[in-house]
Each structure stands twice: as C-alpha cells, then as structure tokens.
C-alpha cells in the first residue's frame, strides 16, 4: 500500500492500538478496569477522521492487509466481501456486525463494543458502503445491556449514509452462529440452518449478507484509514478472571499468559470451549500469528487462552465444558441432539472412574468419530475437537480416574 494513503503520516503503519491497556473482568460482570467509552470526538482524536478508502479500493486493501475473520474462523475476509459484491440482488445487500459473543471465556468483543463503539460502526458502515448494502445491523445478545447502551449512544452521535439498527437474539451459545443470525433476521428463530448456499450469496430474506465479527470490523475501519493492523485481541482466562489484552501477533503464548497471569500452567485450552487442550510445554513458545498456530494444527479461535489452574483436574473441567456445550446445542440435528449429550454422559462416567468406566474410553471414541463433520453447524465439531484433545492431553488422568484416583487432585488409590 502506498504511503500517501495514510492519514496520520507520523503514526506507525500498523496504526493506533485498539485498546490502551489490558481490561480486567471478573465473573459475569462488566470490566473492572476504569476505561471510558469513546465519544465521537475521542474516537476521531484516537484513530483519525473518517475512513479514506471505499468500494473496490477498500476490498483490495483488505486483501493486501490479509485481514481474517476474528470471530474464530480466521478465513480471509475478502472471500465473503467479494461473494456479496458479485451476488447482485434487486433489494441490495445486508451487512451485520456480529457482537453476540457467545464463547463464555471471551470478552474481547464486549470490550470493543463498549469502549470503541465508533470504530466498530465505522467498519460496519464502510462495509455497507463498499457492498451497496441498504441495511446495516448490529447483532447482540438480548441481555448485553452495557454494550447495547454504548452502541446506542454512539449511533445517536453519528450521521451515517446507511441506516444502522440494533437487533438482539436470545442469550444462547448459538445466537452468534452466522446462519442463526441470518435466520433470525429473516424472521425465524435464532438457530443454525442447514444451507446449501453461503449467506454471502443468499442470506437475510435471500439477499446477499455479510456477517462479520465486531473485531474484524474494527480492523476494517483501520485498514480503511490506510493502516495495516498487526495486533490481535486475546482474552486470557484464569478461573473467574478474564483479561482482554491486545498483543502483537509476533508475541508468543508465554509472553501473553506469563505477563497476565504470572502462572506456569500445566495445560491451556486454546480457542475456547470448541477449541483444543494443549500441554503448556508444547505451546508456550507458539506465536499468536494464526498461520503459525495452524501449522501446529492449532487455532486461537476467537482469541481465547484459558489456563487450567494448577491443582485443577483437566478431565473434570472438560466434563463440565462438554455438559455446557451439550446443553447449549440447538438440538435440531441428531449429532447435536443425541450425540453431544451421549459424549457428556460418557465423559462424566470417565471422571467418576471405577469399574463402570472400564470400556467407556472406547465407547467415547466411537461417539466422537460418528459425530465429527456431521452437524448442521460447526457446534458439534467444536465440542468433539475439545473432548478429543482432552483425551490425549489428559490421557494420564483418564487412566488414573479409571483406577479411582486423579493426577491433578491426587486422592489415594484403593
């Protein structure tokens, strides 16, 4: 990209940071770090005036910047943008900022919506303009009152060329799944749909629809200003505490987790409830860059690193995670309705251990292989991936539990 496109000539090419400092959250509440939500004036001082790039120029800049989806999939964003652009429709396209952050361990989307609402909205409006959309929607969970208030306040301060509205769905895990959003905005329930065409081609009421995570849109707003972002937002989770940090993608997991938690964990769960358990010694040196992680068969998903605190049993933790995922499923398809509860029950038996669990490991392996790749959405796949990784990382615990003990929280073997 040419230097002349930069509107802040003395700023670093990567652009200003999204966040000033780490944000601390505790329990289900809001941030306990004292940060004010950006007013439009704060926003312009921090990030500069309106985006410069629009239309195909913006799409090309996104491609050049290598922007990928921060909702968890990490696919190049331009794939969807170009699909929407090519699928002309008489009623125009629809663009959606997906702020229904469903991953229980993640807080980075809420942080952006709350503290940098104008940046997210700039990205959404830039997308709407570039894709000739007539409708722009900010999609949230219905109970997300803090983020909703921040977006409402921001909208009242701005005049945009495209009308932007807020729409909400139920406080469920799958409310943030893109086909569920499209179905809800088309007048149906907020549940995943079986699709033969992507929503970029035939989405809300058959119109081409761009559904993009809010962090992705914040980065679109930076790219539209001529910057090439080189950071990523990560939520580091230790027990009930969650810390949202912005880290350069060149940093490694040890830098981030060590600095935030001060712990040397035994294991970490990368990518949230649908992610993968890893032995800390295997991944401490891994860089945050998604390409590097993919080369190791890993992903940070929506940017979540959950630490297994010393002294906690990873198998028991996995059992509570899969129970949650089974409960939160849409229960529309067999793999989700029957498969996930079966996996949850089987894992609970393994944790309980003893004689009844003797053949459970093999039964569980069968369930996992039968479910993989068969759900209407990615939910069952994520759940299966997480459980399979636990069986490998915590293999020693599986054996110990079978004998009636536990490696992490050691109990005498009878």
């Amino acid at each position: 990209m040419s230097a002349s496109l930069r509107i802040l000539p003395d700023a670093d090419a990567a652009g200003p940071a999204l966040l000033d400092r780490p944000l601390h959250y505790f329990g289900a509440g809001g941030a306990i770090t004292e940060v004010a939500s950006d007013s439009l004036r704060d926003h312009r001082l921090r990030f500069g005036s309106r985006p410069l790039l629009g239309g195909d120029e913006l799409i090309d800049a996104l491609a050049e910047a290598g922007l990928t989806g921060r909702g968890g999939a990490h696919l190049p964003s331009v794939i969807k943008w170009r699909a929407v652009r090519s699928a002309a429709h008489a009623d125009g396209a629809v663009v959606v900022a997906n702020g229904a952050e469903s991953e229980p361990d993640s807080r980075k989307d809420a942080a952006l919506l709350e503290f940098r609402p104008h940046l997210v909205l700039d990205g959404l409006v830039a997308a709407a303009t570039a894709l000739d959309a007539r409708e722009a929607v900010v999609w949230l969970h219905e109970s997300a009152s803090t983020t909703r208030a921040a977006i409402s306040r921001a909208l009242a301060e701005r005049t945009d060329p495209v009308p932007v509205r807020i729409a909400v769905g139920p406080d469920r895990y799958l409310t943030g799944e893109s086909s569920a959003i499209v179905r809800a905005l088309s007048g149906g329930p907020a549940l995943p749909a079986f699709r033969t065409k992507p929503s970029a081609i035939a989405g809300v009421a058959g119109r081409p629809t761009l559904v993009q995570n809010v962090e992705t849109l914040a980065r679109v707003a930076l790219v539209a200003r001529g910057f090439v972002p080189e950071t990523t937002l990560i939520t580091v989770v230790v027990g009930d505490a969650r810390v949202v940090v912005e880290a350069p993608v060149s940093a490694d997991l040890h830098d981030v987790v060590g600095r935030v938690s001060g712990l040397t964990p035994g294991a970490v769960l990368l990518g949230g409830y649908g992610g993968q358990w890893c032995a800390w010694s295997d991944v401490a040196g891994a860089r945050l860059a998604e390409d590097d992680l993919r080369a190791r068969g890993l992903s940070l998903g929506a940017g979540v690193v959950s630490v297994l605190p010393p002294g906690e049993c990873g198998l028991a933790r996995t059992s509570s995670l899969i129970a949650y995922l089974a409960e939160q499923g849409a229960r529309q398809c067999g793999p989700c309705r029957f498969g996930l509860p079966a996996v949850a029950d089987s894992l609970a038996l393994l944790v309980r251990g003893g004689r009844r669990s003797r053949h459970e490991r093999e039964r569980l392996a069968t369930f996992l292989s039968e479910i993989r790749g068969r759900g209407a959405c990615g939910h069952p796949d994520g759940a299966v991936r997480m459980v399979a990784s636990a069986l490998s990382v915590f293999a020693g615990d599986v054996a110990a539990h079978r004998r009636g003990g536990c490696l992490m929280r050691w109990e005498p073997v009878r």
Binding site: P192, A193, F194, Q332, C333, G334, P335, F338, G339, A342, T366, F367, E370, I371, R374, G375, A376
Partner: protein, 65 residues
C-alpha cells in the same frame, strides 16, 4: 455422473429407512442417523441412493452432482 448423496441433517429425524433402501451407501450412527460417504457414488450405489431419496419420509435426502 458421480453424484453424491447428501442429507439435510436438520430435516432428518433418524427414521432409518435410508439404511435399508441403500445398504451399500448409508450406515447409521449410534442414534440411528445416516452417515454418508464423502466419495462420489458408483452406478449401483447411485441406484440405491435414488431409492433412499424417494423413500425418505422426511424428504431430507438429496443427490448433489
């Protein structure tokens, strides 16, 4: 040529008739829902698959080229 049997897994109720009509194509999982081959079907398999598509009471199966 070389069609693939696919299922709308949301519409499917796990009735299981497909596994009887197309035994060389469809196997069922632990809960009675069809597991379909990713590979393209042979001619004989495709004949069975067509019967399964027609016979599915939920109209959940379809052939994709």
């Amino acid at each position: 040529m070389s069609a693939q049997l696919r299922v709308d897994i949301v519409a499917c109720d796990g009735v299981g008739i497909c596994a009887h009509l197309a035994p060389d194509v469809v196997r069922v999982d632990s809960w009675g829902f069809p597991i379909l081959p990713a590979a393209p079907l042979s001619g004989a398999q495709e004949r069975q698959a067509r019967a399964a598509v027609t016979g599915c009471p939920r109209k959940a199966l379809f052939l994709a080229k």
